[in-house]
Symmetry: C2
Subunit: 268 residues, 2 copies
DNA sequence: AATCATCGTTCCGATATTTGGAACGTTATT
DNA sequence: AATAACGTTCCAAATATCGGAACGATGATT
């Protein structure tokens, strides 16, 4: 069970340990709130002494990770953008996958995503779409639940039945649409099926009118577990259409994993 | 000089204070290296004891800000993307400026940027362009020098002559092209001119073949200092063309500052 | 305009974490 | 196989954090 040791803790809040961990927990708390948040409000949500919280916030501001607004509310600092820009540009998996994502987009004409598993969330690493109707950055970096996204289910299908079983009770199955799978057992069955078929689906489970097909990608040692998907509005993605994408997505995933083995060396 | 107190320290490396500051310095060091970097290499660059560095790295990995690769090299973690995604989406100034940037793009047909001053750097907050030839994320979050970018010079023109004077010795004037201003005195004159004219230029100072016109935007208290710009390849941006953009950029900047006053309230 | 309540900041002894040198395994190289 | 370089662990000493309480600022209410 060595691999478990450094696994990121569940995406739930406030279990950071050490000085850094506590500070990042505060940062996360500000991030989760999608608008400027004031001192007292933060104080209420993280149970810490006033003095302590005040110093932590000051340190975060000093580092440029937070900014204080005129009304003493806190927002995320632009320095985070700089870090992320580097994290994105230098991510080896993303660089390797990129041409394959582009090809998949050309073959299907639809939006293609790549998302990596982190704890109980999927974080989108890349996106290829034709029309720039939706804003850039609209998806990259976004964190979505594993249980109602194609990429999330595909990623989980990389893990063993037992590992998934252990995750289930920590997942907060929340109903997003009438099609969302909210029963852990049903969900587990869907993962089993994805594992044997090599593809996972999202039929309007996260958002009404949006469907997708996804396939898993991972390193041999499962230290990197992710998924790629083709997403389209439901009216363009009937069952027959979706079925036609399955092989394309699977092949793209296989090609990416091939490249990963060749360029990064086989892992364990 | 109260305003100086919490100003982000110069973008140079390794002057973080406190436990958090030191950890973020290490993170920055990894970020600056554009490829995976190994323990010993980090050790050489930050003069810290082995044991200390080892623990700091472990903590950063534990928090998901770094990842360790199979060969013990370190890369930035995807958790940074999640933070940045929120920082971008929720940035009030960006949200306010966005429609104006779009309009400016429509009026000129060229790429429009918005960048904010942070220490001695400009960090790009937004970008609007028609063709998606260049990858998304290609610019956002990017940190560029103040002294050879239109946005950087525009931003500096918001500051007093004295403040700029104090910054000069800390700026590492590096020659990017034959047109780069590498003499502090000449550069200071350019800023003075930008201050009186309300626009700054970049005539292939950062990159051969790229020119731009930029205008400053800022809050009354200068806690937010930024610039917007229209950028184009030199063959499409002759002197007459650029001159035609000046008023458009200035007007867009004025409109953004109007909106800022209305929506955020006048600051100081 | 004055009062009161809420909010944010500062202070300092107690506490827990970090620090840093050295010794110990582990992996690559000759 | 021997050697060197690298990464990890350990623990007493140093130091930053912790956290309660007092203080000052802000702004809402009468």
């Amino acid at each position: 069970m060595e691999a478990e040791r450094t696994r990121p803790r569940p995406s739930g809040s406030a279990n950071g340990t050490g000085t850094l961990g506590k500070a990042i927990d505060v940062l996360e708390l500000v991030a989760e709130t999608d608008e400027p948040i004031r001192f007292t409000e933060i104080l209420r949500r993280c149970d810490q002494p006033r003095g302590t919280l005040h110093r932590q916030l000051s340190n975060l501001v000093e580092e440029g990770l937070l900014v204080v607004n005129r009304d003493h509310s806190y927002s995320l600092g632009v320095r985070l953008l700089k870090f992320a820009s580097k994290a994105w540009a230098n991510n080896e998996f993303r660089v390797i996958a990129e041409p394959h994502l582009r090809r998949l987009h050309e073959l299907t004409g639809e939006t293609v995503h790549m998302g990596v598993l982190r704890g109980l969330e999927v974080i989108y690493l890349d996106k290829v779409e034709s029309r720039q109707a939706v804003r850039m950055y609209s998806q990259i970096g976004n964190a979505s639940p594993v249980f109602c996204t194609g990429v999330g289910k595909a990623a989980l299908s990389c893990l063993s039945k037992e590992t998934v079983e252990e995750m289930l009770p920590r997942i907060a199955f929340r109903r997003f649409t009438e099609h969302t799978l909210v029963d852990p057992a049903t969900f587990a069955k869907a993962i089993d099926r994805a594992r044997s078929e090599g593809v996972a689906y999202d039929r309007e489970e996260h958002e009404i009118g949006i469907r997708c097909v996804a396939a898993p990608i991972h390193t041999a040692d499962r230290s990197f577990v992710a998924g790629i998907s083709v997403t389209a509005p439901a009216y363009r993605a009937g069952e027959e259409t979706i079925a036609g994408w399955v092989d394309l997505v699977r092949e793209a995933a296989a090609a990416i994993m091939d490249d990963m083995r060749n360029r990064l060396g086989p892992r364990v």
